[in-house]
């Protein structure tokens, strides 16, 4: 899609227009503001609606590097009371799980945060935080930083020229900036306006998410069980609660969503009895169809995309949001450095640095997650044997295990300054 010529006469209103005030978009806005860039957040939903308990029932595993970024952006302190540390991750290949199945297979991976304590400075591998708390903390931080928020307001069109971009909102208002950033998720209007295509596919699975109170102390252990119907995770939350993330074939997941509380509870204990212990289901259940969607490019003239707008990955490894937060940190750093060199922040030369930095990471993780999903959503005896041996091998080889842990902690690769906990 060719961009129309923007009216030259319109004076720049901001350095950056950010479409999408979700978790990645708001984090990016905070980073921009810290770097001294003027920005505006535009979102079709009223900003406060994100804070309703029914808006987003998920919890996110936040890599320790991602949490450092929020600390550097003055949102971390507000999140600490709601953040449950992940001290241990146990990965188990559970072929026939449930009360009737007996002990899980002996092959499992165990990750302990003490093993990488020297590199993570004693922090846990990550934190489990309910998304609604993250959204609330980011909203407060955005307000405290004095960042302009236009919501509800929808981006209707984006026109670009040699020196900037003009964003026209559905209500007719116009914004002019050096750069437009699309952070509105999988159906990014900014991405479409820039003519960036996507590749991807749906998985025949849905993610079921429910919050439960555990009868036994969870001990800050995150469990990931690989079941033939898809993976099942028990993610520890504060107040001895846990977020259950459970991928199931689509039809079964849809049935679970509408099942009565009693039926849902019965189903849980039947499937995960021994693993789960006695639980009490709290609040509503959520069902999310799983799909993979990758943008062909991260940038276009006067345009950059980040988060799910660039790469919606299967949540199996709990890395979707962390990828978006790493995008935000990398783009903000590229822009901050360019600004302080006097460069045009929306120029191709500058945006290319961001694209190069993030592309490899994003494609690798999406591909690895896809392979992981296909491998572990399978009950073929040979594949089972292969992956069990692989897991056992990783478990015995210290360096490999520590690498996976750091990757899960978000500390692999050329790390943006914000992810090292430094201010921009």
């Amino acid at each position: 899609m060719a961009s129309k010529t923007a009216p030259q006469s319109l004076k720049a209103t901001h350095d950056v227009v950010i479409a999408g005030a979700g978790m990645s978009g708001a984090t990016f806005a905070l980073a921009c503001a810290q770097a001294g860039l003027s920005c505006v957040l535009v979102d079709p939903q009223p900003f406060e609606s994100q804070l309703a308990p029914t808006f987003d029932g998920r919890a996110s595993a936040i890599a320790y590097a991602s949490f450092r970024q929020w600390r550097a952006l003055r949102a971390g302190e507000m999140l600490e009371p709601h953040a449950c540390p992940i001290d241990t991750i146990l990965v188990t290949d559970g072929r026939s799980p449930g009360a009737a199945a007996g002990a899980p297979t002996p092959f499992f991976l165990r990750f302990d945060s003490v093993e990488i304590a020297d590199r993570s400075e004693g922090e846990p591998m990550g934190w489990l935080i309910e998304n609604r708390h993250i959204r609330a903390a980011l909203a407060k931080a955005v307000q405290a930083a004095g960042i302009e928020v236009l919501a509800p307001a929808a981006v209707a069109s984006v026109e670009r020229d040699a020196s900037g971009a003009v964003v026209t909102l559905a209500d007719g208002r116009t914004l002019r900036a050096s750069l437009v950033v699309g952070a509105e998720g999988r159906r990014s209007v900014v991405r479409e306006a820039a003519g960036i295509g996507t590749i991807g596919w749906d998985y025949p699975q849905s993610g079921v998410v429910a919050t439960v109170r555990m009868a036994e102390p969870h001990g800050n252990v995150a469990h990931e069980y690989f079941l033939p119907g898809g993976p099942f995770a028990i993610l520890p939350l504060t107040e001895n609660r846990a977020s259950l993330v459970w991928t199931e074939p689509r039809k079964r997941a849809d049935a679970l969503k509408v099942a009565s509380n009693e039926a849902f509870q019965a189903h849980l204990s039947r499937r995960f009895g021994d693993f789960l212990g006695k639980v009490e289901v709290l609040g509503p259940r959520f069902v999310y169809p799983l799909s993979l969607s990758l943008a062909e490019r991260m940038t276009a003239p006067r345009t950059a995309i980040l988060g799910d707008a660039a790469h919606g990955v299967h949540p199996i490894a709990g890395q979707g949001l962390n990828l978006g937060l790493k995008d935000a940190a990398a783009l903000a750093e590229v822009l901050a450095d360019a600004l302080r060199l006097g460069e045009d922040i929306g120029s191709e030369a500058v945006l290319e640095r961001y694209a190069r930095w993030r592309r490899f990471d994003n494609v690798m993780l999406a591909a690895a997650t896809d392979v992981f999903t296909r491998l572990f959503s399978n009950d073929q005896p040979l594949i089972r044997l292969g992956r069990d041996l692989g897991m056992a091998a990783v478990n015995r080889i210290g360096p490999a295990r520590r690498f996976f842990m750091q990757e899960a902690g978000g500390a692999v690769g050329d790390l943006p300054r914000l992810l090292r906990g430094e201010r921009l």
Binding site: Q8, G36, D161, A162, S163, D337, A338, L339, R340, L341, G342, E343, D344, S347, E348, A349, E352, R356
Partner: protein, 252 residues
């Protein structure tokens, strides 16, 4: 050979001016013929910013740290340095011997309202007209293209205000520079059009020092710049065998 679009002066080598005029429109294409210059730009911008901030006591994290200071960009080309310097707060004058380069630079800067004074002129003309003096004079990748580098450098140095500084960047006359800048960049990688550089006109740091011997200036450097092919990035380095920069400060 004469060109109607050309300024005159002792530093002009007509063949050099013609060569860059032909490329003028392509200055701002980050992936075009000047791609290496765009890649090289951040390291020299950072060097200029940091040294100037040190000399003038400015904060590099400020939005416009150099507000109130005058800068002259000699051989400004399409404005690859002039524009960033204007954004950093300098009051910028950009001169180039090629009218097409100045035309390109003006056309590119205008919609951004950067307030840069672009002129088709030479250092000699500016000095004769009594222009300046300037707090900062940029003399980046120009001296290896002029006819009389000694005269040229002295002229430029006299445009620097007391307490100010001049930045100089060029290529060293070493076998490494011949291999990398001429054979590598022009012939193998095709980064630059063939004939961009004449190795015999490259200058050694001690020759630069010699040009200003007996003049009231101090020279600092050389400071090396090296290319990392894996990261596709330039950075400051102790290796001055190929690209290097120097600073010149008026004495007293």
């Amino acid at each position: 050979m004469t060109h109607p679009d050309q300024a005159t002066g002792s530093s002009i080598d007509p063949d050099e001016v013609a060569r860059f005029s032909a490329l003028a429109e392509k200055w701002w294409d980050a992936k075009g013929e000047f791609a290496p210059l765009h890649k090289f730009n951040p390291v020299r911008l950072g060097f200029i910013r940091d040294r100037a901030a040190e000399r003038f006591g400015r904060d590099v994290k400020a939005r416009r740290p150099f507000e109130g200071l005058k800068l002259l960009d000699i051989g400004c080309g399409g404005g690859l340095l002039s524009e960033p310097m204007a954004r950093l707060g300098f009051q910028v004058t950009g001169v180039d011997a090629s009218a097409r380069n100045i035309g390109t630079a003006k056309a590119h800067a205008e919609p951004q309202a950067l307030g840069i004074d672009y002129r088709c002129d030479t250092a000699e003309v500016l000095l004769a007209e009594g222009a300046g003096p300037f707090d900062v004079v940029l003399n980046m990748e120009v001296i290896e293209h002029v006819a009389d580098p000694r005269e040229y450098l002295r002229t430029c140095a006299h445009l620097v205000a007391p307490g100010g500084m001049m930045f100089l960047a060029t290529l060293n006359r070493t076998p490494q520079a011949f291999a990398l800048a001429v054979v590598g960049a022009e012939y193998v990688l095709r980064w630059l059009p063939r004939g961009t550089h004449d190795w015999k006109k490259f200058l050694k740091p001690e020759e630069i020092r010699g040009f200003l011997a007996g003049q009231p200036f101090d020279l600092q450097g050389p400071f090396g710049v090296a290319y990392n092919p894996l990261a596709d990035r330039w950075s400051l380095s102790s290796d001055t065998q190929v690209n290097y920069m120097m600073t010149v400060t008026p004495r007293g």
